[in-house]
Structures are given as C-alpha cells and as structure tokens.
C-alpha cells in the first residue's frame, strides 16, 4: 500500500501540470471576459471538490450516529436506497427540469449518493468513519477557502465588485462558516464523546444547505445581482478543459485526504497506546 502513494503522487503532479497548461493556454479565450475567465477552471472544480468532501463528511457523520443503534441503521440503509431509486425515477419522469440540468446528471447523483454510502459503510468501521469525517471536513474547508478567494478575484475585474450575493458563492460561504464551526467544536470539545457532538452538528449543517440555497435564491430574485460564471451551455472545448481540471483536483484532493487520514489514524493509535499504558502501570494515588 505504501508503494502506491508515490506513484499516485507522481500521476497527480503530471495531471495537475497538464490541466494547468490546458487552462492557461489551450482553452479558447472567452470573448466578453477575456483571459480573466480562465479563473473559472480553478474556481468551479475547487467548489465541486469541496462540496463532494462535505458530502462525504455528511455520510460519515450519519453513519457514525446511526451505526450505534441497529434499528436506525437498517432504516437509514433503506432510505438511502429509496433516495437512489427516487432520483432515477425523478430524472426521467419530471419533464420540465430546471435549466441546465439533464436527466442523466440527476440519476447519476442519486446513484452516487447510494454508492458512496455503501462504499463507506463497507470499508470503514464506525471509528474509521469518524476519522474520515474529520479528514473530509478539514480538506473540504481548505478547498472552500480556495473557492472563496478565487471568487472575488474573478468578480472584481469582470463586475468591478469584490463580492456579490450570488446563489452559489453565498452558499459556499455559509457552508464554509458551518464547517469552520464544526472544526472548532472538535478542537474545543472536552467531552469523551466529541464525535457524537460533531456528527450532530454535521447533520444540522447538511440540513441547512438546501435552506441556505433556497433563501438566497429568493433573495436574488428580489434583489437581482450579477451571477458568477453564468448559467446556460458553455463551449464544449471549455467543458473539456474544465473536466480535466476537475479530475486533476479530485486526484489532488484524494492525495491530501489520504495523507491527512494516515495522520489522523496515527494520532488515534498514539492516544490509544497512551491510554492503554495508563491502564497497565499502577497509578500512585493522587
């Protein structure tokens, strides 16, 4: 397993540099915004990666909470399967889908949710799922910071303002705040069962996201604002570069998560051995 790490690292480095080349040079320059539009190739993939990581955190938190009680465990399994099936059906039944969303993407997200859930359930024990939750939250926050830095850097030259209450950008900001408070809760907690508290907060955060999205969407319709990146179809060549960049970012995120995960497991093993040691050697009465 150790051998794979440098190879994967090398592959990611190559992919990243190729993606960088593609984004800066190969991709066609956008007519209206000019070259500054290329920030798009870093801004959007970082956002997607961040959302994916937060989603993994949500799944791990649910599993940590649910696996301790068998009944809830079964119920959640069935709900996840139901979500996947519902997504597939909805994809092809609901005809007037909102602009820019094809049926295939709805179905795949549904299946991805179920796939990811059962994948984590199979390969991660309850404690390991909690470790993965910490890892995905931390790395997710790093990617989210990138999004929140590149966003204004993009809005400034194009619209002359640093910040716009755009639906996606603001949801990212709120998500970032939620997960910063998640990480602070983990650090400041003095309870023996910090994972339980953190998992509860993660569930609250995840429940909050659609509400945030909906509330800002109403806010935007009442106060029209410029939209980051614009909706609608984009030039396939650009889409191609975007996907390459996303792949590169995903590999990079995988690399960072893996090493942070090793660090977390090592940390927990250290704490366990110290606890065991305290258990064995006779304690002098205080």
């Amino acid at each position: 397993m150790k051998r794979l790490f440098p190879i994967f690292g090398l592959l990611t480095a190559v992919l990243l540099s190729f993606a960088l080349y593609e984004a800066l040079v190969a991709a066609p320059t956008e007519q209206t915004m000019g070259n500054v539009q290329r920030i798009f190739y870093y801004h959007v993939p970082s956002a997607w990666t961040a959302f994916l990581l937060f989603f993994i955190n949500f799944i791990c938190s649910i599993q940590y909470l649910v696996r301790s009680n068998p009944v809830a465990d079964k119920v959640t399994n069935w709900t996840v399967i139901a979500i996947a099936i519902a997504a597939c059906i909805a994809a092809f039944v609901i005809r007037p889908l909102p602009e820019g969303i094809e049926p295939s993407s709805v179905a795949t997200t549904g299946l991805m949710i179920a796939g990811l859930y059962f994948l984590i359930k199979k390969y991660f024990s309850r404690e390991r799922a909690d470790a993965l939750a910490v890892v995905s939250a931390e790395v997710g926050v790093v990617f989210c910071t990138v999004v929140l830095v590149t966003g204004p850097l993009w809005a400034r030259p194009v619209w002359g303002i640093w910040w716009t209450w755009d639906v996606r950008l603001t949801s990212t900001l709120v998500l970032w705040l939620i997960y910063i408070s998640y990480l602070m809760l983990r650090r400041f907690s003095t309870s023996g069962q910090t994972p339980v508290l953190a998992a509860a907060l993660a569930v609250f955060g995840a429940l909050d996201v659609p509400l945030v999205y909906f509330s800002i969407w109403i806010f935007r319709t009442q106060h029209p604002q410029p939209v980051i990146g614009g909706g609608g179809s984009i030039d396939p060549r650009m889409l191609h570069v975007l996907l390459i960049n996303w792949l590169a970012f995903l590999c990079f995120a995988g690399l960072v998560c893996w090493s942070r995960y090793r660090l977390e497991i090592l940390q927990r093993e250290l704490e366990e051995t110290q606890a065991l040691e305290a258990l064995l050697e006779p304690r002098s009465p205080r």
């Binding site: 909470l65 705040l177 408070s181 602070m184 609250f204 955060g205 909050d208 909906f214 509330s215 109403i218």
Partner: protein, 229 residues
C-alpha cells in the same frame, strides 16, 4: 430512546413551570436580556439616525440583530441553573425522557425572548418612527416562526456547548452559521412588510420549513447530546 415502563407524562409541563417559577423569582435572565437589548437599540439609534423612509429599509435588520443578541444572552443561561448543582445528572438518572426536558427548555426560552420582543418593539417603533406600509398582521407569524427558529437551535447548541471549554463563545459560533437562512428570512420578511413593495409569502414558507426541519432534527439528536458526557 427511553423504553422505561412507566414513562411519566406531564414532565415537560412540570419542567417548564419550574423554570418559569424560578425565573420569576430571581429574574436574572430576563433583566440582563432586557438591559442588553435596550443598550443595543439605543446604540443602533445613535449610529443610524434615519428619516422615515430610510428607517423602513434598515429597521428589519436592526430589530432582528438586537433580538438575536438578546436571545443569545438568554440561551447561554438555559442550562446555567441545571449546572449549578449538577441537577442535570438527577434528570438523566430519572426515567423522564430527554425530549421533554428539551421541549420545556426551548419553550421557556421562547417565552423569555417573546416577552423581550413585546417589551422592546414599542421602543423600536418610537426610535425609528416606523409605520408598516404592507400587511402588518404578517409580522406576527414572522416573529413567532423566527423566534422559534432561533430558540430551538439555540437550546440544542447550548446543550452541545456545555461539553466544550469556552462555553459562552461556542454557542454563537455554532448557532449563527446554522441560523443564516432563518435570519435572512426574518430580516427580509420584516423589511418587505414595512416597505410594502414585496410579498413576504416566500419568506414565511421558508421559515416554517426551517422550523419543521430543525425541530425534528433536535428531537432526534438531543438524547445523544444530553448523555454525551
């Protein structure tokens, strides 16, 4: 979930009555809250001295920010009385369900914040020369749903922050990010009603979904948090 044979009923009522009686005797929470929000109102009215038209635009934000901070003062004291002699342990040992304690505490907080709002709103109207152009009766559901949204999550996160080092800081840090949609809805609904240009219908729908979602989440997860010592 407690599967005790005789699950005592009426515990929520008894706990709420106890909290209100104790609060009526000592009045420490309500006094600090009142004084705190009075300060916030006065400071706001100094820093912005709007004419009638402008004040309608910003009054919604100022009112709710003042009430938010006052609510945090109350929420920080929710569990103070239970911690003083670790009475929480006595409750946890008893067969009384955890959710009854949660509902009693949340309702208690709701009453405190509601009393505060009733007392402070006339001051706001006076200072900002407010007169609602839109349907003023809609302000009531907005206030009720909004206050419950803050209080239910606040009580839950007050219980969570019991287990952390810096308790008073932790509560707002946990509560504010999660309450952003509710805050946005309250402020914009109030402004919409005061200015009368837009309809507050959307915001009221959002607030009620928010309340339903988070009340259910709190009831499901509170027992875990209460017993996480």
């Amino acid at each position: 979930m407690s599967t005790a044979s005789a699950v005592p009923s009426g515990v929520t009522g008894a706990t709420l009555a106890k909290d209100l009686r104790l609060e009526w005797r000592s009045k420490d929470a309500i006094n600090s809250m009142l004084f705190f929000s009075l300060l916030v109102v006065v400071v706001f009215s100094f820093s912005f001295d709007p004419n009638a038209e402008e004040s309608r635009q910003i009054a919604g934000g100022l009112v709710w920010v003042a009430f938010l901070f006052a609510a945090v003062v109350a929420l920080n004291q929710t569990w103070a009385r239970e911690l003083r002699n670790q009475v929480l342990d006595a409750y946890r040992v008893s067969p009384a369900p955890a959710n009854s304690l949660f509902l009693a505490k949340a309702l208690g907080n709701f009453i405190f914040v509601a009393v505060l709002e009733i007392l402070m709103t006339p001051l706001f109207i006076m200072f900002y020369k407010l007169r609602a152009l839109g349907p003023a009766w809609q302000l009531l559901p907005v206030a009720v749903l909004g206050t419950w949204a803050l209080v239910v999550n606040g009580t839950f996160f007050a219980a969570v922050s019991l287990r952390t080092r810096s308790r008073e800081i932790m509560l707002p840090l946990l509560l504010f990010p999660i309450s952003i949609p509710a805050l946005l809805a309250m402020v914009n609904a109030t402004t919409a009603i005061l200015t009368g240009e837009l309809s507050a219908k959307f915001w009221i729908v959002l607030l009620s979904t928010y309340d339903v979602v988070f009340t259910i989440a709190c009831l499901l997860l509170f027992e875990l948090v209460l017993n996480a010592e």
